[in-house]
Point group: C2
C-alpha cells in the first residue's frame, strides 16, 4: 500500500470511528429513554438524539467522506478485503443519501416525525382518516425517492434493498407463493383439530421470578452478561452500544408467562449475534448484522426452533416448574409444550404464532407493493386489509386499530421492512436444517440442555462475519442452497402434526 | 436591540444549545457507566465520552464562540440580564482555557487520566511512592496554569475560583480559624462524654426495603420522580441530564442503615436544587448551581439539618420502624436519634460525622495551599498527613491508604475543590438560621413531617436563581450577612449538647 493510501485509510477509519462514537451516544440515550427515563426529560432527550443524528448524517454525507471514499475506491486493489467492503458499503449509503435534495429530505424527516404522533392518536381513536393524509404523503415521498435512486425490476426493490441488501420482488414473490400454497392447507387442518389448552399460561406469574428465569435462560444460551444486561421495557428490543455491550430488553406480563420467556429468547438471539461478530470488524462499518432478515433469523431461531422445541423442555421444564410450582406443578411437560405452540389465526401480528405469522407479513408485503406501484390507494387500505385478513386467516378485525393501524412502521417511513420478518423465519429454517446435518448429536445436546455447541455453530457460520457477507453469500456458504421456503414448510408441517396430530 | 445583535444572540444560544446537548449525551453515558453498564463495554464507552468531551472543549473555545462573545460584550447594554451573565460566564471560561497552550493542556489531560489509575493502584497497594511522581507533576502543572491565568493575592485563589467563584484564601483563612477554635474544644468534650450506642444501625437491613424507604423520603422532600429516578451505584452521586431529568444514585449497604438513608437525602438535596432552577434559565449556561459550595449546602442541609434532626424523626420514626420492626422495634426514637448523630474522630472523610468532617477538609486545604505555594513538598505528604490528623482529630492512620491516599480528587487534578465541602456546611448553617427566622412554624412543620414549605422556601430563595447569582450575592440576598462560621458553630454546639449532654 502506498503511504498516501495508507494515510487515507487511516483518515477513513478515524471518521468511521467518530461516526460510531456518535451512534453509541445516540443508542445509550435511546436505551435510556426506553428503560425508565423520567417522563419530563423525554422531550429534551429526543431533541438531543435528533441533533446528534443529524451530525451523523452530515458526517456520512460530508465532502470529506465523499473524497475519501472516491480516493479509496480508485485504489481498491491496494486495500484489504475488509476495507474494500467497508468503503463499498458507505459509498452505497452516501450516494443513496446524496441523491435526495437536502430540502426534500428535511421535509420528509419532519413529516415522519409528525406522522408517528398522528398515527398514535389515530390508533387510539380508531380513526384511519387522521392518518390517511400522512401515509399518502409518505408513500409519495418514497415513490419520488425511488425515482431519484433508480431501481431495477420492480420499484419496490429499491425499498427492500435498504433492509435486505440484494432482495427483490422477483425473488420474493415465488417464495411467498410457495409458502402460501403450503401453509393455507395447514391452517385449515389446525382449524378443524381439537384446540389446545393454554389457560395455565395465563395464571399469575411473579415478574421478579420471571426475570430470574429469563436471566437463567440467557446464560444457558451463552449470552455474556459481562457484555450486556437485561432490562424491562414496554416494547422489547435489542440494542448494541459497543462490542462489549449488547443489551436485551423484555416485558414481564403478570398474567402471561410466555411474553417474557420467548421474548427474551428472541432478543437474546439478536444479542448473541451482536456479541459474536468478529473483533476484526470492530472498527469498521461491517460490525453489524448482515441484514435485517438474517438478524431476525437468529432471534426466531432461538425463540422458536429452540424455545418452542419439545427437546428443550425435556431439559428445562422441571427447572421452570421449580420457579412456578403452584402454576405448573400439575401440568405435564407435554401439555406445556403444546400450549406454547398453540396455532390460531389472530388479529395482531406481534402476537401471532409461528404458522400464522407469515400471513401477517404477506398481507403487508402485498399492500406495500401495491402502494408503491400505484395499484393500491391509501384510502382503500381499511377495506383491503379486511379482505386480505379474510382471505389468508379467515378472520376480520372489527376496528382499524386492530387492523391496518396496528403497526408503527409506516408512520416512520419504514416501507419495505416487513418482509424481513418472514425472511427471518425462512432463513432460520434453512440454517436449522443445516445445523442438524452438521451437529448429528443435536437432539441429544438439546435434550441435555447443552446449548453452547449450537451457539458455537451459529457463531462460526454466521455471527462472526457481521456485514462482511451479504445475506445471499451467507446463505450459500452455510447451506449451499439459495433462498427457499422448503425447510420452513417442512418444519411447520411437522410442528402442526406434532401439536395437533393432523 | 439592533437586528444584528439580535441575530448574534440567536447564534450564541444555538451554540450554547449544541454544547448542552453534547453534555447531556456525555452525562447519560456517565450515569449509565456508574449504574450497571457491563464490564466489557466500559473501555469503549470511556473513549466515546472522551471524544465528545473534547468536542465540547473545542466548541467552547472555538473562534466562532470567541467572536460571538466579544461582539456581544461590546454591546452589553443592549442585552437582557440573563444574556449578559451568560456571556460573562462563558467568556471567563473561554479566556481561562485559552491561556493554556493546547499542547500543554493535552499533556495534562493525559497525565490526569493516567494518574487516576495509578492512584487506584497505589491506594490498593498502600504505596504512596507510586502516586508521588504523578502528584508532583499535577502540582507543577497547576502552578504553571496559575501563572498563565494570573491571580490576585494567594496563588491558590486561582484554583479556588474554579469551584467557588470569588472565594479567596484571604476570606477563608479567618473563617476556618474561627471554626477550628470553636470546634476543637467541642471534640474534646465529646471525647470525654459517654459513648452512644450505634450497634442496632449495623443489623441486617434488606436492600429492597431500604430502597422503598429512600423513595418514600425523597417524595416527602418534594423530589419529583417524573423528573428524575433513583438508582444504585458504588460511589453515589447526583447527575442532571436535562431540566426534566435530575437523577439520584445511592448505595444500599446490607449491614448499615445509614449509608443509603442519609446518602439519599444528601443526593436528593442536590437534585432538588437542580429540579427547581427557573425555567427562564433552561437554554442558558446559568441553568446550574451557583457554585460547588452552594450546591453542597443544599445536600448537607437535607442530610443533616433535616435528616439528623430530632423533630424529623418525631414525624417519621414510626414509619421507619414499620419497615424494620425486627431491627428497630424495641429501640426508642431518642436512641435512634442519638445513634445517627454519633460524633467520633475517624480516619475517612466520607464517613465522618458533622462535627469532625470540617477538620478533614481543613487538613486538605492546608496541604493544598502549601503544595501550590511551594511550602510543602509532595514527598512530605504522608508525614504531614499524620501530623495534622494527630493535631486536629487526635488519631493517626496506620496506612497511607487510610490517610493521604484515601480521596480520588488530586489524581484527577482537582486541587481547590475540597474547601467547597466545608463551605457547604457553613452556607447550610447560615441558610438554616435564616429559614427558621422566616418560617416561624418550622418546628411544627418538621414535627408533622411537612417538608414542602421548607422546600418551597429553598426554591424561592436559592434554587430558582441557578448560576444567575454568585455565592456571595445569594448569601447576602438570603441571609443579609456575608460568609461566617457563627451559625455552624452555634448549630454544632447545640447538637453536641443535645446528643452528649455536655
Amino acid at each position: 500500500m502506498s503511504s498516501k493510501i495508507e494515510e487515507q485509510v487511516k483518515r477513513f477509519y478515524e471518521l468511521v470511528k467518530k461516526i460510531k462514537s456518535y451512534n453509541e451516544a445516540i443508542n445509550v440515550m435511546y436505551w435510556d429513554l426506553r428503560t425508565g427515563a423520567p417522563k419530563n426529560g423525554v422531550e429534551g432527550r429526543s431533541e438531543v438524539i435528533g441533533m446528534l443524528s443529524s451530525e451523523v448524517f452530515q458526517m456520512k454525507t460530508s465532502s470529506v467522506m465523499e473524497q475519501l471514499l472516491n480516493q479509496l475506491s480508485k485504489h481498491e486493489e491496494e486495500l484489504d478485503q475488509i476495507t474494500q467492503k467497508s468503503v463499498h458499503l458507505l459509498k452505497k449509503e452516501l450516494y443513496r443519501d446524496k441523491k435526495i435534495p437536502k430540502d426534500k429530505y428535511q421535509e420528509y424527516v419532519v413529516l415522519v416525525s409528525n406522522a408517528e404522533s398522528v398515527w398514535e392518536e389515530a390508533k387510539k381513536k380508531n380513526d384511519f382518516s387522521l392518518f390517511k393524509p400522512y401515509l399518502e404523503k409518505i408513500v409519495k415521498f418514497n415513490q419520488e425517492f425511488i425515482e431519484l435512486w433508480g431501481y431495477e425490476g420492480n420499484k419496490y426493490n429499491a425499498l427492500l434493498d435498504q433492509y435486505e441488501p440484494g432482495m427483490t420482488v422477483e425473488q420474493l414473490d415465488p417464495i411467498f407463493k410457495d409458502l402460501k400454497d403450503a401453509l393455507v392447507p395447514l391452517i385449515q387442518k389446525v382449524a378443524k383439530a381439537a384446540p389446545v389448552d393454554t389457560s395455565f399460561l395465563k395464571k399469575e406469574y411473579d415478574p421478579h421470578q420471571q426475570k430470574e428465569l429469563c436471566q437463567f435462560i440467557l446464560r444457558k444460551m451463552g449470552y455474556d452478561f459481562e457484555a450486556g444486561r437485561l432490562d424491562e421495557t414496554v416494547h422489547p428490543f435489542q440494542i448494541t452500544l459497543n462490542r462489549g455491550d449488547a443489551r436485551v430488553t423484555t416485558k414481564f406480563e403478570k398474567n402471561d408467562l410466555t411474553t417474557a420467556l420467548f421474548g427474551t429468547m428472541h432478543e437474546g438471539g439478536h444479542a448473541q449475534y451482536e456479541q459474536n461478530i468478529s473483533k476484526d470488524l470492530e472498527k469498521t462499518p461491517l460490525a453489524e448484522g448482515s441484514s435485517m432478515g438474517i438478524h431476525e433469523s437468529q432471534s426466531r431461531f432461538w425463540e422458536n426452533m429452540i424455545g418452542r422445541n419439545s427437546l428443550f423442555w425435556d431439559a428445562y421444564y422441571e427447572y421452570l416448574v421449580s420457579y412456578f410450582p403452584e402454576q405448573l406443578g400439575n401440568i405435564p411437560k407435554e401439555d406445556f409444550y403444546r400450549a406454547v405452540n398453540e396455532m390460531k389465526p389472530s388479529l395482531i401480528r406481534t402476537e401471532a404464532d409461528e404458522l400464522t405469522y407469515n400471513f401477517h407479513i404477506m398481507i403487508r408485503y402485498e399492500i406495500e407493493k401495491g402502494l408503491i406501484n400505484g395499484t393500491i390507494k391509501v384510502e382503500e387500505l381499511p377495506t383491503i386489509w379486511k379482505e386480505k385478513m379474510q382471505e389468508y386467516l379467515g378472520i376480520v378485525p372489527n376496528t382499524d386499530a386492530e387492523g391496518v393501524l396496528q403497526d408503527v412502521h409506516w408512520s416512520g417511513g419504514m416501507i419495505g421492512y416487513f418482509p424481513t420478518y418472514a425472511l427471518g423465519n425462512i432463513y432460520a429454517a434453512q440454517f436449522y436444517h443445516q445445523l442438524k446435518l452438521e451437529l448429528p448429536n443435536f437432539n441429544e445436546l438439546l435434550q441435555k440442555g447443552d446449548l453452547i455447541p449450537i451457539k458455537n455453530w451459529l457463531d462460526d457460520k454466521i455471527h462472526r462475519f457481521g456485514k462482511a457477507k451479504t445475506p445471499n453469500e451467507l446463505l450459500k456458504d452455510v447451506t449451499h442452497e439459495s433462498l427457499n421456503a422448503k425447510y420452513l414448510i417442512e418444519y411447520l408441517t411437522e410442528k402442526v402434526k406434532d401439536i395437533y396430530q393432523v
